[in-house]
Structure formats: C-alpha cells, structure tokens
C-alpha cells in the first residue's frame, strides 16, 4: 500500500512534522549555545576595556586580567550622578541588570541616543533632558595599573557605513588621555577601517582634553592637518569615519567629566 504523497492530508502532515523537527533542533542548538555566545561577548568587552589601558589580553586570560586590574564598575546618568556600582572583583553575570558591565551602550545608542542627537543636534540642554528622561546610563570602569588609577569610558558613534565604538582611558587628572581603542562594524577597508589600527590609536596617547568653555573637548582633524595637544590627525580618505570619532568623543566625554566633577566635589566636602 502506498501513501499518496500528493494528497492534501499528507502534505499537511509533512509540513507540520517538518516544522516541529526543525523548530526543536534549532531551539535546542540556540539555547544550548547561548551561554557560550554571551561569554564570548563579555570576554570581547573585557579585552577592549583592558586594551584601553594598554593591557594586552587574549580570549584565554581576559577574565582573569579583568578582575586583576579593574577595581570598580560604575554606571552614571547624563549628569554624572552614580546610579549603580559594583566592586571590580564581583563576578560578571550576564543576567544581572544592575551590573554596569552589562550595560549595552551600543543598544542604547541605537535605540535612544542616535535619535536624540539627530533631533536636538548641538542643543545640549535638550539633549541632556531627553537622555535623562529615557534613562540612558553610561558605564565607566576604574582601573588600577602599576599603582596608578585610570578611568575607562566606553562610547558609541556613527561612521560612514555603520556604528563605530571605542574605549578611551583617562588619567587621574581627568584630562590626559592614557590610551584609546576604537573599532567599527563595517567601515571601508584601508580607509575608515584604519581607526582600529595601532598607528591611529597611539596618536591619542598623552593628548589633553581642552576644558576651556566654548571649545571642543577634543578634535579629530581632517587627514594631514596640523595638530596640537588637543587634537589628532584623522584618517586620510576616511573623513566621515574620522568625523564620527570626533563626534562621539565630544558627545560622550562631557558625561564622564560631569561624573569626575561630582566625585571631586564629594571628596572636597569630606
């Protein structure tokens, strides 16, 4: 006896059986591998943060080095007030929403910050209130390396083709850049993509933020321009990517400066 494999009933049965089998297989694979994937993402983030203070880590030792160097993880709001914090040796748990380490700055940027920046542009007050309303928080990581203290500030911006992001570490005087790491999703190879190369990143080291009123904190200039202690040379042929780096530095760093100021005031009061 042969089943008529073109009958409606059979087709229907086949389709359902297939959906069940495929669905189960995929769900099992996806959920089985998810912890590993999350761990990979966390490790990558640790490597980036360590990279910003010039500690070279690879996937195998990142977690150990991270607990060794990072002393405090803090989340601050747009005005620099501390929202939550964790000691550096607390274990990183991807499900703990209060851990500043788990703040997804890229997601926040896509969901909120980018929209507000387009909407309000240079109007800082409106931008601040919008960001505060949306509850955007900014993580900062305190690192002690060779007895000196550094602050690692994550940031996200927009390049030519997609998001760019970076981690900039400041020294304890709150204005000298100790190290910087940038990366990108899809900038042009050989042009904008060079922001993640060492030769570009070392240019930032030792530069100072310009704290005077009315001027930009820091400038990434058009490739080949004359630079001073508050600016670096951008990437030739990667103008839009360089501008993106400039924009994200000037937009994000003030938040952290507010935090440093608050922390200083508190210390002075004591």
């Amino acid at each position: 006896m042969a089943i008529n494999k073109n009958s409606n009933g059979y087709t229907f049965f086949f389709a359902i059986a297939m959906v069940v089998v495929v669905g189960t297989t995929l769900a099992v694979t996806a959920f089985g591998l998810k912890p590993l994937q999350q761990k990979n993402q966390a490790t990558k983030k640790m490597m980036d943060i360590l990279g910003a203070v010039k500690v070279d880590a690879d996937r195998s030792n990142a977690a150990a080095l991270f607990t060794e160097y990072v002393t405090r993880r803090v989340a601050v709001n747009y005005n620099g007030e501390v929202i939550s914090e964790k000691p550096g040796d607390a274990e990183v748990d991807p499900t703990d929403k209060n851990d500043p380490f788990n703040i997804d700055v890229k997601k926040d940027y896509k969901a909120n910050v980018k929209k507000f920046v387009q909407q309000f542009g240079d109007n800082e007050e409106k931008l601040a209130s919008a960001l505060e309303e949306a509850g955007v928080v900014f993580p900062v990581f305190e690192v002690v390396k060779d007895g000196e203290k550094f602050f690692v500030c994550p940031m996200v911006g927009t390049g030519l083709w997609g998001p760019i992001w970076g981690y900039v570490s400041l020294e304890e005087d709150y204005k000298t850049i100790y190290g910087a790491r940038f990366d990108h999703k899809a900038e042009t190879p050989g042009l904008g993509a060079e922001i993640k190369e060492d030769f570009f990143q070392v240019k930032f080291e030792g530069k100072q933020l310009q704290l005077a009123d009315g001027s930009d904190l820091f400038n990434v200039l058009k490739g080949g321009a004359q630079t001073n202690e508050h600016s670096v040379d951008g990437i030739t042929g990667g103008t839009i990517t360089s501008k993106g780096v400039d924009e994200m530095l000037n937009r994000t760093l003030p938040v952290y400066l507010n935090y440093f100021e608050n922390a200083n005031n508190q210390r002075a009061q004591r």
Partner: protein, 204 residues
C-alpha cells in the same frame, strides 16, 4: 533629509552589486539584453520595497530580544533572533508568491512584463541581503527601512541596466576568446564598481 541620505546611499554608495555583490547570479544571467534587465530590475525594486518593511515589522515586533513586550511585559527576555534567517526567507518566498498572484489578477499588463522574473527573485541574494542588512543596521523607523529597501532596489536596477547596455555593445568588440561572455562581464563589473566607489565620500 535622513530619508534622502539613506536612499542615495542605497543607490550609489552601498550598491548591492558593486559594494556587496548581492544578487550576482541573476545579474550575470539576465543581463544579456537591456529589455529583460529593465524588467528584472523593476521586479527587484518592487519586491525589496515590500519585503524589507514586512521583515522590519517581524524583526522588531516578534524576533528581536524583548520585541514581544507589546503582548505581555513578561516576555521581555525572550530572544527569538536565532529564527530570523528562516523567518525572513519564508516571508520573502511567500510574499513573492503572493505578489505574483495579485499582479496576475489585477494588473495583467504588469504581469506580462514582470511575471517571468518574479519566481526567480525568491532566491535572489539581494532580497535576503536587504532583510539581513536591515536587521544588522537597525534602522530606527519603518520609514527608513522602507526607503533603504527601495534605494537598494533602485541601485540594483541601475547596475543591471548599465551592464546590460554595455554587454549589448561589447558584442561588436574583439574580446580575447577565453574572456568572452562571463570573464569580461566580471572585469567590467569590477571597473564599474571602482567608478561607483567615487561616490563613497559624498555627504547628504
């Protein structure tokens, strides 16, 4: 302004063919005459313009992590994004089928022009590529996603019409025998890609 920028970027800077090689199979196979190229090109614009927004809704209200919160707050941690490939391709295949039936019924003239190309499109990488880029770039609104879909479609149309026009003329040139046909088309596409790269620095 944002819309204009995404549209122009989709056509020139992030051209599906020249920057990402998507939809190359049909681009090479159906570019022998301008007339058929125009037909296939329009079909691609049409399908991209429909499937990108649909997949956008699917991505943002069903698949992404926390996308199901509109049903119930407790679904915030559900992440179905591992299903996105299968869902996107299913949407594309069924939309193409649906569009084919609708066009056949209500616009026979259009069906005459596009009809034979529609079934080809379900497996055109440019369509799935459009959906995947939409997912990766995370456009904030459905409007922007739609404009991106249309822009990429127009870019693809432009590319295939241009190469078809060149191939019609090249028939009269002395191309070295081993390069004839496929080889020279690849090289010309490469050269066109270089020309299109000069759009890279534009800002709108």
């Amino acid at each position: 302004m944002e819309y204009m920028s995404i549209f122009v970027k989709g056509i020139f800077v992030e051209n599906m063919i020249f920057a990402y090689f998507l939809g190359m199979c049909s681009y090479l196979a159906v570019s022998k005459t301008v007339k058929t190229a125009v037909g296939l090109g329009f079909a691609v614009i049409f399908v991209l313009g429909i499937t990108v927004p649909i997949n956008y809704l699917l991505e943002n209200y069903v698949l992404a992590e926390g996308a199901l919160t509109w049903l119930d707050e407790s679904y915030a941690t559900i992440d179905l994004s591992f299903l996105s490939f299968i869902m996107f391709i299913a949407v594309i295949a069924s939309m193409v089928q649906l569009v084919e039936m609708i066009v056949e019924k209500f616009a026979p003239a259009l069906y005459g022009a596009l009809g034979i190309f529609l079934p080809l499109i379900a497996v055109n990488c440019a369509i799935l590529g459009g959906a995947l880029f939409m997912q990766e770039r995370q456009y904030p609104t459905i409007g922007e996603a739609t404009v991106f879909g249309l822009g990429s479609g127009v870019g693809w149309w432009l590319a295939i019409v241009a190469i078809a026009a060149i191939r019609e003329k090249i028939r009269y040139s002395h191309v070295p025998a081993p390069l004839r046909g496929l080889g020279i088309t690849f090289i010309i596409t490469g050269l066109m890609g270089m020309a299109f790269m000069s759009f890279m620095g534009i800002e709108i």
